[in-house]
Symmetry: C2
Subunit: 183 residues, 2 copies
Amino acid sequence: MIDVKTLCLGVLSRGDASGYEIRKEFEEGPFSNFSDAGFGSIYPALRKLLEDGMISIAQHGTDARPDKKVYRITAAGRQVLCQAVLRHPAPDRLRSDFMFMILFSHLMPARHLERILTDRIEDYERLIEDMERRESCDAAHSPPGEKFVHGLGLAMHRAAAAYLEEHRHQLLEGIRVQTKVAE
Amino acid sequence: MIDVKTLCLGVLSRGDASGYEIRKEFEEGPFSNFSDAGFGSIYPALRKLLEDGMISIAQHGTDARPDKKVYRITAAGRQVLCQAVLRHPAPDRLRSDFMFMILFSHLMPARHLERILTDRIEDYERLIEDMERRESCDAAHSPPGEKFVHGLGLAMHRAAAAYLEEHRHQLLEGIRVQTKVAE
DNA sequence: CTCTACATGTAATAAGTTACATGATTGC
DNA sequence: GCAATCATGTAACTTATTACATGTAGAG
């Protein structure tokens, strides 16, 4: 499975960036579809990559931000990234508290279940809107791989949102009946 | 985020099980939609849960398998599970090597890209078939939460599979053009 | 003047993975 | 007889998370 070091290498292969900017990519950019990492994993990863000669410091500090460090991928780093990309991809892994909780929705008050369903639908709607906005923004000049990943993520989120909307009443009803039977 | 201990508690709330059986749930059952854990995390989790009185040993060894231990959730364990279910769910997290690699498909030979796309589509088709088989098998007698999670997972996988099939040629063509321009 | 965004990093902790180590049973 | 499945567990390692610790710049 791809680790944070390789993820950072991936971001830097698209252009120089600081640790902070790399994190933004994980949060908002195309990388957000399949990864996330906080500062606590990015900074140590960058230190390691620097030690190993996979990246270099392109710029250290500006007038405004003396601490800022802009990293640049090296030839060695590019090679390592190419190798990583050629490996057979491990299966996708989804971690979802939401699904876990739904599985045990019979253990919660109906109000809470309604709440988490509504919240989740709203979350998806916001996310989809954001993605659609970005899509129309930079569709033309983004590379094919990026468009593909963006579209795939969007398709999955749309499917999830549609399913939630179409089946929430069925779930609520199912729970209601089950509760009545238990009485 | 839900940890392996809570996941185990969730499985055991549905019935007694051994470590080995719990893992099967993570691999094949409804839990496979949103989690996975190997023996290396399940056994230590069970030990901890036992120490804390969240589970007990319902049966230790059979004629055939003297080592087998069947665990049972305790009242305390059930309480802890109920509390966990009431917390606000953390956002879902997807880790996908596949998407990472597609993002860098311009760094790989066209043959390799075709290969991972074909493989992935096949993987999805197999997975969807399996899920459909299980759906028709135990649709009637499975609780509403389980049906919902199953349906949601299926909807997402179908959307992904459909997207891959519909857009793979577009990606391949895009990469081809990009490579030509670079020459 | 206050809030948000920018900016970096460490230390302690928690968690999870991999490799190791072993062995019986069942079906083919 | 062989492969797959059942069955458990530990130790070493790698990884990632959380909390801590600090401070500037720009917008309103």
